[in-house]
């Protein structure tokens, strides 16, 4: 069960209620945690929050976001160069190099995801980059036993093979593959499984379908799918090459546009909006991002569903079998935000005013407890990485008959759940009672 941050207050309330027997008709909880009818946080705790310190923490959070998104953008450009090299001279080596560049680009990107929940500007933008799971038959050829989302009219559209795409009664012109065309084909026919762009579309174009189920092995697309003329495989290779190039160009420009949102002194960008808002709202977004990614998204959507259903279809980086790293760096991102630290791609470390310091000022024990929860979950996610590195990947761990493997995933989930309770407790210490930053315009 979850720990209850209000347990101490509740004990006090109980004492008051007992003492007041026969006189006090008010519910006991009112005595302990003063009922708040306005939208503000509980008065007792707001007073303890050092506004200037909180502002500094939010500002450093924006710096952190800038650093992580900048790394995502620069590694995206490295990926683009590697893909250019692959297309210039398709070979086993250039395909391998492109795959390595994709894997490296995922490292900072997965650490950006903690900024997604809580910041609508990121949440609205990310679908074009990281939507998942996808019906890859939209993009290219697939195996005959390919299964897709029910009722998805674009599940077998195969854009690469078709210059004109039939969706229900509509015919779409796809004769020239450009970044704009691909962006417009995303969620074609309204199905969110129609993912034409982003990391996973590129991943599919580099690796191909993983047809091994819960057995060892990832996708095995041959480099010859990118050859023209003799030795070419796959078919429609000019269009496949154009697709890969366009999808990568779109990724790079999308990443650049998000960097601009977090740059200092850019009038009207998201950073200036965030810093102009109250520090309390900034802290709420930080904590909401950490908790939502930790519980609902990572532990739930990305791990628990795949685990309980023994479903490789619900594996995050399913073509490349890079899921362990994606999970690990998601977790790292949560820890980064709490500690105010980020280890950049160039090896240097950015650090500054942190949530951890703010919490420690109010309650040192709550801070050290959350710090150890974050370290513990990183340890459990590291176990998944180690397992993959020694040959057993996430899609093997979740097999129905792999009890020991399942336990590793279960342990990581449990650590993330525990850490989420710690995040709730830290929020309560800072007087952030309502953690949901939903607005009328955006619901996370």
């Amino acid at each position: 069960m979850r720990s209850n941050p209000l347990a101490t207050a509740s004990l006090l309330a109980l004492a008051i209620a007992l003492a007041g027997c026969g006189e006090d008709k008010a519910p006991a909880t009112q005595a302990a945690a003063p009922a708040v009818s306005s939208e503000s946080a509980a008065p007792a705790t707001t007073g303890t929050l050092d506004q200037a310190a909180a502002q500094a923490v939010v500002k450093h959070y924006a710096d952190l976001a800038l650093a992580v998104f900048s790394d995502a953008a620069s590694t995206g450009k490295t990926l683009q160069s590697a893909i250019d090299a692959l297309l210039a001279n398709p070979s086993e080596d250039t395909l391998q190099a492109a795959k390595q560049a994709w894997l490296a680009a995922r490292v900072p990107y997965m650490q950006t995801e903690v900024f997604r929940f809580g910041n609508a500007v990121v949440d609205d933008w990310e679908g074009q980059l990281n939507a998942w799971p996808l019906d890859e038959g939209l993009i290219d050829y697939v195996a005959s036993d390919y299964q897709h989302a029910l009722g998805n009219p674009g599940a077998q559209a195969n854009i690469i093979a078709n210059a004109a795409i039939q969706i229900g009664e509509d015919q779409l012109d796809a004769s020239t593959i450009t970044p704009e065309l691909l962006a417009s084909l995303n969620e074609l026919g309204g199905s969110e499984a129609n993912v034409a762009t982003g990391y996973h579309a590129i991943e599919f174009l580099l690796w191909g379908q993983d047809l091994n189920g819960t057995e060892p092995g990832a996708g095995e697309r041959p480099y010859t799918d990118y050859l023209i003329g003799e030795g070419a495989t796959g078919g429609h290779n000019e269009r496949r090459r154009a697709y890969l190039q366009a999808a990568t160009a779109l990724l790079v420009s999308d990443l650049d546009s998000m960097v601009e949102q977090w740059q200092d002194s850019v009038e009207g960008n998201y950073r200036s909006e965030l810093l102009a808002d109250s520090a309390e709202n900034g802290l709420r977004k930080m904590l909401f991002g950490m908790g939502s990614l930790s519980l609902g998204e990572l532990a739930g959507e990305r791990m628990k569903v795949a685990l309980e259903a023994n479903s490789t279809e619900d594996e995050h980086d399913c073509f490349s079998d890079n899921t362990h790293n994606s999970h690990f760096y998601n977790g790292k991102g949560i820890r980064n935000v709490y500690l105010g630290e980020y280890r950049k791609v160039d090896g240097s470390t950015l650090s500054g005013p942190s949530l951890s310091q703010l919490v420690a000022k109010v309650d040192a024990a709550a801070d050290s407890s959350l710090q150890s929860d974050l370290a513990a979950s990183e340890g459990k996610l590291q176990v998944l990485v180690d397992s993959a590195n020694s040959g057993q990947h996430f899609d093997q761990l979740i097999a129905a008959d792999n009890a020991a493997g399942q336990q590793l995933v279960r342990d990581a989930i449990a650590a993330l759940v525990k850490q989420t309770a710690g995040i709730e407790q830290a929020a309560a210490k800072l007087g952030i009672s309502d953690l949901n930053p939903d607005t009328a315009d955006h619901s996370f």
């Binding site: 979850r2 209850n4 941050p5 209000l6 347990a7 509740s10 004990l11 309330a13 109980l14 209620a17 007992l18 027997c21 026969g22 008709k25 008010a26 519910p27 006991a28 909880t29 302990a32 945690a33 009922a35 708040v36 009818s37 929940f117 799971p133 019906d135 299964q147 897709h148 989302a149 029910l150 009722g151 969620e187 309204g190 199905s191 969110e192 499984a193 909401f288 939502s292 519980l295 609902g296 998204e297 739930g300 959507e301 309980e308 259903a309 023994n310 479903s311 279809e313 129905a400 008959d401 989420t420 309770a421 995040i423 709730e424 929020a427 009672s433 309502d434 953690l435 949901n436 996370f444």
Partner: protein, 353 residues
């Protein structure tokens, strides 16, 4: 004659006035006995009927409509447990063993067919060792309602009946296991009534958890309604992303869950969560009452299955109004009620996309 209830009521007040237990303890105990435990009992009962219905259908002793009716009852009882998801059923993967939703890529069909192809002589143990996707009501619904199947045909009946019976048995055993854990000496019911205990330091913790489960369920109902309406997919309706689309029971499930949430709020006898609000919070209580009424009436007025409503603009507009009403009901309790009761809501499994 008229005096008797009055005297009883006054006596009740007097006793309550000097009762050593705080109101939280009384409300928690009352909810356990008169709302939560009865819901778990009727779930088990409907699971028992599900198991015997599967056996009867497969033995040729009853027809498909009766088997479908037993399924709908079990599914409705399960839906009613959503706001009461505390204790054993909320732990481990037990809830997953009952239902797999959302099913974005039709895993139910894929896993059922894969299992039956690899184990044509399916036995109970095969199902117990298989994925949760094939153990529960979602797979059962596939067998009885999928447009591509027809279990009235002898050949199909032979192929699918072993799984149908095994799921019925699994659900019955699961219902029994959960109810046993509720009714055990130091079980869940006892933990909602006597404090402190291994689970709760005091009644406030118990109330906080009941409230969190209640609010999380309302959030979940928004997801279940919003997904097929296309709220996460640029407004394009996604009928196959609905819960229970095969049995056309999506809105019936919603109604069952909502009714159960309202019972937790009102209590069986005026002793629900509402009773924890003081006299000075009567205005908030009134608004929440009105919100329940509004959502309930809008839902009742729809009268047609979700799949049909999604297919036409007027239907979609009415669903949007229902969604807005449900959203209001959820937010009132997530923010104002939680604050009034001094409960931090925190994160739930529905956060994220």
């Amino acid at each position: 004659m008229l005096r008797k209830p009055l005297i009883a009521a006054l006596l009740g007040l007097a006793l309550a006035g000097c009762d050593q237990s705080p109101p939280e303890a009384r409300i928690s105990a009352a909810l356990a006995d008169s709302v939560v435990l009865p819901a778990y009992r009727s779930w088990l009962l409907s699971n028992q009927q599900l198991a015997s219905s599967a056996a009867a259908f497969c033995a040729g002793e009853s027809a498909l409509p009766a088997a479908r009716q037993a399924f709908l009852s079990a599914q409705s009882a399960w839906a009613g447990l959503q706001p009461l998801m505390v204790g054993p059923l909320a732990e481990g993967n037990r809830a997953w063993q009952v239902q797999f939703w959302p099913d974005k890529k039709n895993l139910v069909r894929r896993q059922v067919e894969a299992l039956l192809s690899s184990k044509p002589q399916l036995n109970q143990a095969d199902v117990e060792n298989a994925s949760v996707v094939v153990q529960g009501l979602s797979a059962y619904e596939y067998l009885l309602f999928d447009p591509a199947l027809d279990l009235r045909q002898a050949e199909q009946k032979a192929r699918y009946c072993p799984l149908l019976k095994a799921i019925g048995n699994h659900q019955q055993a699961l219902g029994q296991e959960v109810l046993d854990q509720w009714q055990a000496e130091q079980g869940m019911a006892s933990q909602l009534k006597r404090f402190p205990n291994a689970r709760y330091a005091d009644a406030n913790e118990a109330i906080a958890e009941l409230l969190r489960a209640h609010i999380s369920a309302l959030d979940g109902l928004k997801k279940k309604l919003g997904a097929p309406m296309g709220r996460q997919s640029k407004g394009h309706p996604q009928p196959y992303q609905a819960e229970a689309w095969r049995s056309a029971a999506s809105l019936a499930n919603l109604a069952a869950a909502l009714a159960s949430a309202e019972r937790l709020w009102q209590g069986h006898n005026g002793d629900g969560l509402k009773a924890l609000l003081g006299r000075d919070q009567a205005e908030l209580a009134g608004r929440i009452d009105a919100a329940y009424l509004d959502t309930r009436q809008r839902l009742a007025a729809l009268e047609r299955p979700l799949g049909e409503l999604l297919g036409e603009p007027t239907g979609l507009a009415r669903l949007n109004e229902l969604y807005a009403s449900l959203d209001q009901l959820h937010r009132l309790q997530e923010s104002e009620l939680a604050k009034a009761l001094g409960v931090q809501i925190g994160f739930n499994a529905h956060d994220g996309d």
